[in-house]
């Protein structure tokens, strides 16, 4: 829950380190992104190719 209160990736990195957990800057940013809203129009973006690969975010991958 404390992680959710961090305002920046650096704060999160420091909090994690204090708890004995090492995270990279990219991981910290990715974690903070999970807590944030999605600001773009997802419905419109879904239709844009160039970003939809065989495994897109809308569907789980086929069972391997």
């Amino acid at each position: 829950m404390k992680a959710m209160q961090c305002k920046t990736a650096d704060e999160l990195i420091a909090l994690a380190k204090a708890g004995g957990y090492e995270i990279t800057k990219e991981e910290a940013e990715a974690y903070m992104a999970e807590l944030a809203d999605y600001d773009l129009d997802g419905e419109k973006l879904q239709a844009i190719a160039g970003g939809t690969g065989p495994y897109d975010a809308q569907r789980p991958k086929r069972i391997e």
Binding site: M1, A3, M4, A9, A16, Y21, I23, T24, E26, E27, A28, E29, A30, Y31, M32, A33, E34, L35, A36, D37, Y38, D39, L40, G42, E43, K44, L45, Q46, A47, I48, A49, G50, G51, T52, G53, P54, Y55, D56, A57, Q58, R59, P60, K61, R62, I63, E64
Partner: protein
């Protein structure tokens, strides 16, 4: 000038399975450019003899990224740029929802990757998702939607999600899905499906994946009922009943050494039971209906089947390669195209490339292998969340949780580790020509091979890509040559350009814009830059 670090040069193979002499396929794995060039020019490229190319060809290949003035670090910077755009724009927009009503299963398949959960005993397995947990999950999903994320569908998964005894809890979950307008599908062994026929019709279940591993006894040894009961006939009978109720059925066949040579018998039996002929009739009927209504559907569901090499990590000596399944299918009479269409590791590349040849969209630039790295959300009966359905039940891979009384999902740092398992950040992938083709490979397979989910897994991707790309491009080239011979097209300098290239859009970013993209965490800021440079196509107008 140098040949791109990400360049792949392949032969062309025609529809007759013979090499197309005199030509070669250039694939730039970073920018997605695919070009057919004379073989002698491909040889010149490999030798670094750029001066030996015609001026027009040299210019075209430079513009498209096959030849570059950038050094390795400069090209890597483009890979990182594309990856950052994807991860912040497309890669974050949606949730791939998977719900597990239970971990219990009535089968004991010897190669199951969830065998670890059996150690917890039947009392634990008997647990199903409680009413309170269902409420919490859907409250959290509504929160997700309210925060701007796209939630389109739900896949039922297990264990076995469709056990007859659990239809009550499945209906409750499906009811919530229906309230949210979610498309529903399931991965099921199909054994108890008869109990779910009315349910599937009432709740308009879109599709199911069912597995059989050969005919009769061969299947029954691998798709093993926990009480030793035969399963094959009952599964296929249920598949037919589901198709009659309008459910799309994708029949999967897990193939190992034991059943590789049973593929022919299975295909013959599917024909004898009428699945193939009925699907052909259904497809014809649908084509007829769609002459007047583009979205028309037949009453009968769509039937298809595909093969996948099993990965039985407890008994690797029983495994085969993906190419073995292709070879076996071609041996029993399938053409290469037909075999590829029925092999899950091959058909996606075939489909993707054929789409790219239309030049209506830029090549894919996702740096993530699958939904596990981009937003898959697998919720188990206890509210534990995983991002990969191969690791359910493994407590060290839980990425978050939801509990009754909560109205949002809570994440731990594992979530961030999975989100950053992308080719721009994995050292071994960063300068690999196949980086944006294989995208780092399967995390679960990486764990089995290297003991680490967060490493690359290459598997057979190079061989699979070479097999498919040579043939898809070969057929496209033959088509273009035939059109030119018939006077319907001309073989001008652009005839060999099979796809668009991201090299052009990438060149439109200013240094300042690149710096902003690489440093900001604002999706809007990144998207505004990307839009201004026309890096992404405009969405098509919605059909009226």
């Amino acid at each position: 000038m140098r040949l791109s670090t990400y360049e792949i040069i392949l032969p062309l193979v025609g529809a007759d399975e013979k090499p197309i002499e005199g030509y070669a396929l250039l694939v730039n794995g970073l920018y997605g450019a695919m070009d057919v060039v004379p073989k002698e020019d491909a040889d010149r490229l490999q030798a670094g003899n750029f001066a030996g190319l015609s001026a027009a060809l040299r210019e075209r290949l430079m513009l498209r990224g096959h030849i570059t003035r950038k050094d390795e670090a400069g090209e890597l910077a483009d890979l990182k740029l594309f990856s950052r755009i994807y991860k912040n724009v497309q890669g974050r927009m949606g949730v791939g929802l998977v719900i597990m009503p239970t971990y219990d299963c009535n089968f004991r398949c010897p190669y199951c990757f969830e065998q670890h959960r059996l150690k917890k005993g039947q009392d634990w397995l008997d647990n199903t998702m409680s009413d309170e947990m269902i409420e919490a999950v859907f409250a959290a999903l509504k929160d997700y939607k309210a925060r701007g994320y796209v939630v389109n569908g739900c896949t039922f998964y297990g264990g076995e999600p469709f056990l007859a005894k659990n239809i009550g809890v499945v209906k409750k979950i499906a009811g919530k899905c229906r309230e949210m307008g979610l498309f529903m599908g399931a991965v099921t062994n199909g054994y108890d499906l008869e109990a779910y026929l009315d349910f599937m019709e009432e709740y308009k279940l879109g599709s199911i994946q069912v597995t059989v591993d050969g005919t009769a006894e061969l299947n029954d040894r691998r798709r093993l009922h926990k009480n030793g009961l035969p399963t094959y006939d009952r599964i296929l009978r249920n598949v037919e009943l589901a198709l009659q109720r309008g459910v799309t059925v994708r029949l999967r066949v897990n193939v190992g050494k034991e059943n590789l040579h049973g593929i022919k018998d299975l295909v013959d039996d599917l024909k004898a039971r009428g699945f193939i002929a009925k699907e052909e009739e259904r497809a014809k009927e649908e084509a007829e209906l769609r002459k007047t209504d583009l979205k028309a559907k037949t009453k009968r569901g769509v039937f298809s089947y595909y093969f996948k090499a099993t990965t039985d990590d407890a008994h690797p000596e029983k495994n085969i390669s993906e190419q073995d399944t292709i070879d076996e299918m071609m041996k029993i009479g399938f053409t290469a195209e037909e075999a590829v269409a029925r092999q899950s590791q091959y058909d996606m590349i075939w489909y993707r490339m054929n789409n790219l040849f239309k030049k209506e969209s830029y090549p894919d630039f996702s740096p993530a292998y699958c939904g596990a790295e981009t937003g898959m959300l697998v919720v188990d009966p206890f509210g534990k969340i995983y991002t990969c359905w191969d690791v359910v039940g493994k407590d060290d891979q839980v990425t978050g949780y939801v509990q009754p009384g909560m109205s949002r999902f809570l994440w731990n740092f594992n979530k961030a580790k999975w989100r950053t398992r992308t080719v721009d950040l994995m050292k071994a992938c960063q300068t690999c020509p196949h980086a944006l083709i294989c995208r780092g490979g399967c995390a679960s397979r990486s764990s089995n091979a290297h003991g680490d989910y967060f490493r690359e897994f290459c598997g057979e991707v190079r061989e699979i890509f070479a097999f498919v790309a040579s043939r898809v491009a070969g057929r496209e080239w033959e088509k273009r040559c035939a059109a030119a011979a018939a006077g319907e097209a001309c073989m001008d300098a652009c005839a060999g350009e099979l796809t668009l290239s991201l090299a052009g859009p990438a060149s439109r970013f200013t240094n300042a814009e690149r710096e902003t993209i690489m440093s900001t965490t604002s999706q809007k800021e990144i998207f505004d830059i990307v839009k201004a440079t026309a890096f992404l196509p405009e969405p098509a107008e919605a059909e009226k």
